[in-house]
Amino acid sequence: MAIKKRTTKKFKLSEWLFKGFLWVYAFISLYPLVWMVLYSFKNNEEIFVSNPYGLPKIFRFENYVNAWSQYNVPQYFINSLMVAVATVFLTIVLSMMFAYATSRMKWRGRNFVRTYVAIGMFIPVQAVLIPVTKMVQTLGLTGSHWALIVPYTAFNLSFATLIFYGFFVGLPIELEEAACIDGANIFQTFFKVIVPTVTPAIATLSIFTFLNSWNEFILANVLVLDQNLKTLPLGILFFQGQFTTDWGAMGATMVIASLPTVLVYTLFSNQVEKAITVSGAVKG
């Protein structure tokens, strides 16, 4: 903002205090993270007794080796990755097709159908936990990654279709006309002409959906019972119950679980924030 502050002496002091406040909050926001990383390099004695906040005396990389080799961490990681990638892929493809049919194609009931899917924005996952669990069992998805991929996709669809609708509705009709004259059918036109015009939206939504499903806990907690299908958020919890003796390895697991999302965010921070703001505008 281009407000030039009137720099009287009184103002300088308050400005100085304000700056201090910003730093203090940044510290509060980041410190638990830093603490977690340091924790992951310590042994039990350091964590609890001699050195709870400082830098570790020796960086114990073996905590990571232990977490990775002795516990189920690689499996959790792969499960999280598979579920997140499949959810992103399905959400993007399905919602794009749906948004295309409801925004550009002409048929009766398209507005009704569009509104119907949009009401999903107002349904909290918590509330439908029980029936969704029953449905996943009825569909026979329990015991595979689909038990998470299918509900995650379903819950991400409402938002994604709204976003793509917004993009498609403003495209010029000439896009399809030209493709039609060239002899392309509607499917070819959709995938070769329409989809490439919304790549920025695809990128933003992919990141958003990835973060959501990587961190999802409430559904996973009731839908996954098999140890070998657990995702990282569940894996960390399991750690707490089972291996309370090896806190360093648990710290290492937490760092491993957080690394992908922190990395995605720092690399694409603008996109992530854009997605969040769009979701704000849509829901409000």
Binding site: M1, I47, Y265
Partner: protein, 295 residues
């Protein structure tokens, strides 16, 4: 072109997968929540219709009122903390002349992208009464302020709410920051010419123009409070005793611990209705407020 855009086959291929998935996993379940809340149902078979009995029992249950009270406390704590912090921090970071804007922006937002389990584990260690960071911090300062943050009946719900407030502050911060950026600079220049201080300018320009954003922030934190679950599930298991129960927790334990699915769904119906009420009330409040500034 008419034939092209009216291709029935294509319409089916494009819309059916989404419609089927959405109906089976979102729409049908929400209908079931209300329908099955009138049944005595143990999760197997179809249950017995018992009218309003589940709701009568619910309104007679002390735990139901405690859960609602906790939801209210949770919502109040996170709303107050997040809205005030997010406002101050977003105004500061939106200042173009500020050094290290990107660092602050990322620092404030980063807790949002962490998994809630990681965050809860972290805070469990911070709150631990023997070796936790918080008690050690007070010790270092020489203050006798040791607390059993999570095992005290009175403080548990507040301690849990702080975790959520801390983690999701960045979300509202990002929303407000984007809102502030969309306000044209010329408004502030005009205010400056009229002799307004930065604080006055923000009170008279920024706040009124961001009313839509504030409405949304309020919606998320209030409904977030009503729906609260994961933090208590991981950090206290609803305890000590039942002191940190919420509606979602009540539903969860009725269904998945004591197999009273019908009763759990009655709690879930109330949850949905409360969220809808919150949405309606907040929308109403923001509608009646006089429009200042304008688009």
């Amino acid at each position: 072109m008419k034939k092209y855009f009216g291709n029935k086959m294509a319409i089916l291929v494009f819309t059916l997968p989404t419609l089927i998935l959405f109906t089976l996993l979102v729409f049908y379940p929400i209908v079931q929540v209300f329908y099955k809340s009138f049944f005595d149902w143990n999760g197997l078979g179809s249950g017995v219709f018992i009218g309003f009995d589940n709701f009568i029992r619910l309104f007679d249950d002390k735990l139901f009122f405690l859960s609602n009270k906790n939801g209210f406390i949770f919502a109040a704590v996170i709303t107050l903390f997040q809205l005030s912090m997010a406002t101050i921090l977003a105004l500061a970071v939106s200042n173009l002349k500020m050094k290290g804007r990107n660092f602050f922006r990322i620092a404030y937002f980063i807790p949002v992208v962490l998994s809630v389990t990681v965050v809860c584990q972290l805070w469990l260690s911070i709150y631990n009464s023997d070796y936790g960071l918080l008690n050690r911090f007070f010790e270092t300062l020489g203050l006798d302020f040791r607390q059993n943050w999570l095992t005290d009946r009175k403080s548990a719900i507040y301690a849990i709410a702080v975790v959520n407030a801390w983690q999701w502050m960045g979300y509202q911060f990002a929303l407000l920051l984007a809102g502030i950026k969309s306000i044209p600079n010329s408004y502030y220049e005009a205010a400056q010419i009229d002799g307004a201080t930065p604080v006055q300018a923000h009170m008279k320009i920024t706040m009124p123009l961001l009313s839509e954003t504030y409405k949304f922030c309020l919606l998320i934190s209030v409904t977030g409070g009503i729906k609260a679950f994961t933090e208590m599930f991981i950090m206290t298991s609803g305890g000590p005793g039942t002191s940190s129960y919420t509606l979602t927790y009540m539903m969860y334990s009725a269904a998945f611990r004591s197999n009273e699915f019908g009763y759990g769904l009655a709690a879930a119906s109330v949850l949905v209705l409360e969220c809808l009420m919150a949405i309606l009330v907040i929308n109403f409040i923001f509608k009646t407020e006089p429009e200042i500034g304008g688009e």
